[in-house]
Symmetry: C2
Subunit: 347 residues, 2 copies
Amino acid sequence: MIGKVKVGGFSPISVQSMTTTRTDDVKATVEEIKKLISAGCDIVRLGIPDTLSAEAIKEIKKYVDIPLVADIHFDYRLALKAVDSGIDALRINPGNLRNVREVREVARACRGKNIPIRIGVNGGSLDKRKYPHPTAEALCDSAMGHINLLENEGFRDIKVSLKSSDVKVMVEANRIFSERNDYPLHLGVTEAGGYEQALIKGSAGIGSLLLDGIGDTIRFSITSDPVKEVVAARTLLRVLGLRREGIEIISCPICARHEFNVEKVVDELTRKTKRFKKYMKVAVMGCVVNGPGEAMESDIGIAVGARGAVLFKKGSLIRKVSKENILKVLLREIELFQNEKDFSGRN
Amino acid sequence: MIGKVKVGGFSPISVQSMTTTRTDDVKATVEEIKKLISAGCDIVRLGIPDTLSAEAIKEIKKYVDIPLVADIHFDYRLALKAVDSGIDALRINPGNLRNVREVREVARACRGKNIPIRIGVNGGSLDKRKYPHPTAEALCDSAMGHINLLENEGFRDIKVSLKSSDVKVMVEANRIFSERNDYPLHLGVTEAGGYEQALIKGSAGIGSLLLDGIGDTIRFSITSDPVKEVVAARTLLRVLGLRREGIEIISCPICARHEFNVEKVVDELTRKTKRFKKYMKVAVMGCVVNGPGEAMESDIGIAVGARGAVLFKKGSLIRKVSKENILKVLLREIELFQNEKDFSGRN
């Protein structure tokens, strides 16, 4: 448990991100956390570079109801201070918190308050003296060192992350680790770069592990607004079938066969349906090749041909739709679907 | 061989995309192909919905020097016409070209001219009478049916694609197929939707297969400008270490520790270095936690701390850089690196 959120086992894969504000600027930090919550973040991490930041946690927690994780580097006293301030979890970095006595002291403080610790190994901050290069084995070995330290204190409320900016190394490290250990894994490709590249690296790395059933909580790392990290993470979980929430749009690339402006409809649809929570597939298909097939497999689908568009609902052809009305009809049908109660009584 | 491009075996993973113009509009089609070539496309597919489009291939080939694939659905005579017009390869769809005699005739025409055929199976256009739902096994089975048809004609110049708009189905289908067959695989998550979702679905699906050594040529499907498909595909290959070309930027997400505007520098850098071909890693790191480590593992790296920035080259600390000059210094160093001849004599 990280605060109220369960991580590991059969609990849903949770989404994490990190604030960009100075943590001791409580007002700005609370505002950013609220934005992350609105976007669907489950757990928020805060950088704790100094005492003022560690002390600010107490104040921040008055205004937001989401588990907070303190990101600790170099100085174990900041970890102790964060624990005092009511933090829900710690992230410590074996690469820069190497003093055995200090790590033990942190473990004892956490055990007293049921605060879990993430051992957050990162290729860029491995102990260079022990590991000249950040290989997959080096990442695993570094994590195991700290796991042993904590286990020797009887502390087992542990989560592990093995991050690298190299997708292959990150995937390999997590595969190796998960074969040898049962601790929950926090997945991320770190320092993944600007928006597009980061989406690609994160999806390939995190996605391929999730497809193999590895990973319990995820963070996209993007050099940009962290709200984008949350949206990307939720989209990945949705398209992998791991969080049945929100709208997945099935739409064709544009080709010589397209019969209307698919891109415009998809863009508008994406923008106007962000608020919907119930999972559904919506197909917007521009031609007769895959159109009817995809539309039939979706909850709501439009397939367009030379003679006009047809609307499908849950596998059945409903009626013709004029091309000008496609967006309007789709929005109305999505709204209807979202307001329908399903048999489980959920909305 | 698809024209001059080798697909399969140990040849580099090639990048494909598809034109969005009417194929019989030769001027517009040639213009778009040239844009795709500039973006790094290796193979271009053209929709051939009618006779005029099939005939236009001859004219288009006069203006562009890239292998062209004709996308054929429903009507085998368009395949024969495309072969006559000098197409480099065909894509046929077992879901809508089911007449055995017709498929045989296409195979004979292709064999005479050494034209390979892609059997392009797609969840949305499976034969509904045989396969009520587009499962991974259904995709494989549909491909095997057409492989057998072609093999019975002595035709083995075959490539296969098993596409689904469901990432899990697509990954599973390709895994199953690659265990049973040696034919080269063209990978893609189809109808992947608008830009962001398509990047995420494509990277997760294509990426996880490539990480396991499955796949020979790839296409991102994006409901947008196909140039974006090419850029995404090349970025994925680059970050997976499969095409050592272009610049990979390692940059941290923004957090409470950041000491300068990483996002702005990364955006500018991405924009201004698109033209460079030689592979390199450039680290732009905003703090001291992972900064020096990542900078040291990169060809060029900047790590910023409270006391200013430092420049690293190939693992060595070179000198201090003032924060205002970070972008300028990086651009100059990248340019120098790009103009350096490496030991292989390549530039």
